[in-house]
């Protein structure tokens, strides 16, 4: 019983410290403890979601870039989503990757963003959706859309490098294609 109490007190203390998002100890613990057992409870704060993040991508076929296409995961119907809302999981997954990517504080000439797990995963997700065998390169972007006062606003949040796609495969190479890195902040 004593051990149980000590464990719970320690767990709660680390959880409380983690809310401050500060301290080397909690940061180290977060890296070691899996499955979100050290929670961060902020719920739409301090920056509430006021725009939808959309993942768009395009392919280069026969030397020409095709139109941008959007990764469509759908949104739950308001009639059923109060009970069952699977789209929340898939949309949140993309939002998690996007937020992680945009948190990467890399300058325009700094290519470390390209090595981040969120960047590579987003690139893999759009590469998996390639439907054209002859595609030679792929590029993705993140667009934020909002609709306030009946006015739809679109803002470009990030543009990836263009990545060559291996022959006969939908996998990409790490080397960028002809276009350079373009960040939009």
């Amino acid at each position: 019983m004593f051990v149980l109490v000590v464990l719970f007190v320690a767990w709660f203390a680390v959880s409380a410290l983690n809310q401050l998002r500060a301290g080397a100890l909690t940061a180290r613990l977060r890296r070691h403890i899996p499955l979100g057992l050290i929670p961060l409870w902020t719920f739409f704060a301090p920056n509430p979601a006021r725009a939808d993040s959309r993942l768009i991508w395009r392919e280069e076929v026969d030397g020409r870039w095709q139109h941008w296409r959007e990764l469509q995961l759908g949104f739950g119907s308001w009639r059923t989503r109060w009970l069952v809302h699977p789209q929340l999981i898939s949309n949140k997954a993309i939002a998690d990757l996007v937020n992680s990517l945009l948190r990467t504080d890399a300058g325009v000439d700094d290519r470390s963003t390209v090595l981040s797990s969120s960047y590579v995963t987003l690139l893999s997700i759009v590469s998996d959706r390639s439907t054209v065998d002859r595609a030679s390169a792929v590029q993705f972007a993140i667009v934020r859309t909002s609709k306030l006062h009946g006015r739809r606003e679109v803002a470009l949040a990030f543009v990836s490098e263009a990545h060559e796609v291996s022959d006969g495969s939908d996998r990409f190479t790490a080397a960028p294609a002809r276009e350079g890195l373009a960040h939009v902040r």
Partner: protein, 264 residues
């Protein structure tokens, strides 16, 4: 919730686990090759993380995930019917811990605070059982969950107070204007009546920040805080589609109640 397993409200988080299973099964194709939760994507996502963070992240595709969720459905049903006071209920709850943990690891991203609290509750239950599962151990588990729920509300409230958007009373309009969390009719109503938005923002802030009072205030006030919480989470489910927060947070209210009674 663990100390009084016979209470029906002590089983609410398992309704959330039932819904989680249905949702994951609906998304089963996303776990296959080429899906956003494919093993290849999970391998990329967890590259460079520590070994314990990657356990099961790349294990199993659609069939394994669906099988885990089918087990979770049956296990959650056993707890909903039988509670966590019997051997069958305890086994079923521990089964839910296994299946829920597997899917959390297998997915890594796309989780919510509701999922996180539910998983923490399941881990706490397992620890209570390892400690013998006595009434005292269950009360300690309840106290920890009550503390986590209180911390969750206070941290969220303080984060909102620190936010100029929340303080200005425009946060709800912004959130409800999105496609992901929005409801156009309500957003339009808040745009037409900004005072309503300000009232909603500050009501949430005040309720969250002062939630610890529920643990020590007179019983009527405790009832009022929890009733407000139920209204808040049901509203979030209806307006924003945050469906599982109802079952996760309200499911921990019996622990808040039991702990508040102990403090009296």
């Amino acid at each position: 919730m663990f100390a009084e397993p016979a209470l029906l409200v002590s089983r609410l988080i398992f309704i959330g686990l039932l819904i989680e299973a249905v949702e994951v099964v609906a998304l089963r194709a996303t776990f296959a090759d080429g899906g956003i939760f494919s093993r290849a994507n999970l391998a990329l996502l967890t590259t460079g993380t520590r070994r314990q963070m990657r356990i099961l992240a790349e294990s199993g595709a659609t069939t394994s995930v669906v099988a885990a969720m089918v087990i979770q459905v049956f296990a959650a049903l056993v707890v909903i019917v039988d509670g966590v006071g019997s051997a069958a209920g305890v086994t079923a709850a521990l089964c839910c811990l296994g299946t829920s943990g597997y899917v959390r690891s297998r997915r890594q991203i796309g989780g919510s605070g509701a999922e996180q609290l539910t998983f923490i509750a399941l881990v706490v239950f397992a620890m209570v059982m390892i400690a013998g599962g006595s009434r005292h151990a269950r009360q300690v588990g309840d106290a920890f969950l009550a503390a986590q729920v209180t911390l969750a509300y206070v941290a969220a409230g303080v984060a909102k107070v620190a936010s100029p958007v929340w303080r200005s009373g425009t946060a709800m309009t912004g959130i409800l204007s999105t496609e992901g969390y929005g409801l156009p009719g309500i957003a339009d109503l808040l745009i037409a009546h900004p005072l309503l938005d300000r009232l909603a923002c500050w009501s949430v802030i005040v309720w969250e920040v002062t939630f610890p009072l529920a643990l020590v205030a007179p019983r009527a006030m405790l009832v009022a805080y929890l009733a407000t919480g139920i209204t808040f989470h049901v509203s979030c489910a209806v307006m924003m589609g945050l469906n599982r927060f109802v079952w996760a947070f309200c499911g921990c209210y019996p622990a808040v109640w039991a702990s508040a009674m102990l403090l009296r």
